[in-house]
Symmetry: C2
Subunit: 247 residues, 2 copies
């Protein structure tokens, strides 16, 4: 049987996984507080050529009969031990020379994970968490991919509810605001932030407050909808009409 056209490239799936740094690194080292937290992405060390010993995005080959999104969820769980709260296709990279020797087309996804997910992360010297704004030289074209994913995350934060995927089921407005401030790397006015978020209708009060704080107890909120509604991420509904990347 002759080789079919369209079959000479191998199909891989990779994922850029974003989490919020818990304030303590996985090594248990305290982190000094310039900003209280920062964005954090896990990378895996390549154990084989090509790109041996370099850090790379978690990923793997597409399985037979496996949906693309399922492959992304599977490979990121296998390699890093985290489960995504949000998963969306980013872009497909297929330059002929992006991997030496063989042709690889990578369908890249990006994911957000909650803090408790990262505690179940694999404790492995070949998995390490990095600041996506300060990366070493990665394998293949992965630096460019992370840069693109970061731009998409920052843009999408402004017109969707994806910030919820960084948080627990209930949270305070200050916690939600901290997500925005961390990702956008700029402070936001608490008063205006409150009004904008409340007007968007994306949150509902739980009726509870968080006690034990040294100050006035803040109300707890939860997302207005299950947050994962909307099939495969193609047609998601924009909500909040501001909070752009630029001031």
């Amino acid at each position: 049987m002759s080789r079919l056209p369209g079959s000479d490239a191998r199909l891989a799936v990779s994922t850029v996984i974003f989490a919020l740094e818990p304030g303590v690194t996985p090594d248990g080292v305290e982190h000094e507080a310039s900003g209280p937290r920062s964005l954090w992405i896990p990378l895996v060390r390549r154990l084989r050529e090509p790109g041996k010993d370099r850090w790379a995005l978690p990923g793997g080959w597409l399985g037979a009969g496996e949906a693309l999104e399922a492959a992304a969820a599977r490979t990121l769980e296998e390699t890093t031990g985290v489960t995504p709260a949000y998963l969306e296709q980013l872009y497909t990279f297929g330059a002929p020379d992006r991997s030496p020797a063989e042709r690889v087309v990578s369908v890249v996804y990006w994911a957000l994970v909650r803090p408790e997910e990262t505690t179940g992360a694999i404790d492995d010297p070949n998995v390490r968490w990095f600041d996506p704004d300060d990366l070493p030289a990665l394998a293949f074209d992965h630096n460019m991919i992370v840069e693109y994913a970061l731009a998409r995350l920052r843009t999408k934060l402004g017109y969707s509810q994806i910030a919820h995927a960084f948080l627990d089921q209930t949270f305070t407005l200050a916690e939600l605001r901290e997500v925005y401030e961390t990702v956008l790397r700029r402070p936001l006015d608490p008063a205006n932030f409150r009004r904008t978020v409340e007007a968007s209708g994306a949150l509902v009060e739980t009726g509870e407050v968080r006690t034990g704080t040294p100050h006035r107890p803040p109300k707890l909120y939860r997302p207005a909808e299950p947050a994962d509604a909307g099939a495969n991420g193609l047609f998601r509904v924009p909500i909040a009409p501001h909070l752009r990347k630029q001031s």
Copy 2:
């Protein structure tokens, strides 16, 4: 040699091609003027199973050593005879059951073509132009793909300069406005449109005017930049801050 993982799916490339209906169909039939023009996309009739005799997006298999974007440009030229003025990746569709019998992953692009490009289009009964808002049942999942491309076109029109790709190198503001009105399917205020576009800095006056009109001769403009600058479409710069899909 055993079959490698990641190779059991065939990689195809398809393109959703948008043009402005010239006011006359390719058959030479005059078109009545409710709206003066409308969006227009070319589809090809499938001559083989699966989906035989249904209309489908132009496309083909990815060639060995061929870049994804190059494959999109090649296959749309081969099947429909048009050359794109703008080409950007849309999404990769890979549901296991989207094509019967064999696994096909399709990297889908979308393109804009100028009116003169469509005059060089192939005159073939197996290529026909359709209104994307009024399509028959297409092969595979192509109805959904067109719907998604249409949403992306309408959204992107509001924050980029892609409208220029529908027009010649120089054009009047009325012609540019007609592009927006056609794509967004709503009338725009000429006065406000002018100010918005001028403020965006996306256009420069050529100093010429268009003569031969029955009224005051309008100024001619050209895009401020070569319009195709920006590599592979990943990092394009948003410009015009309004003209949304919704009023």
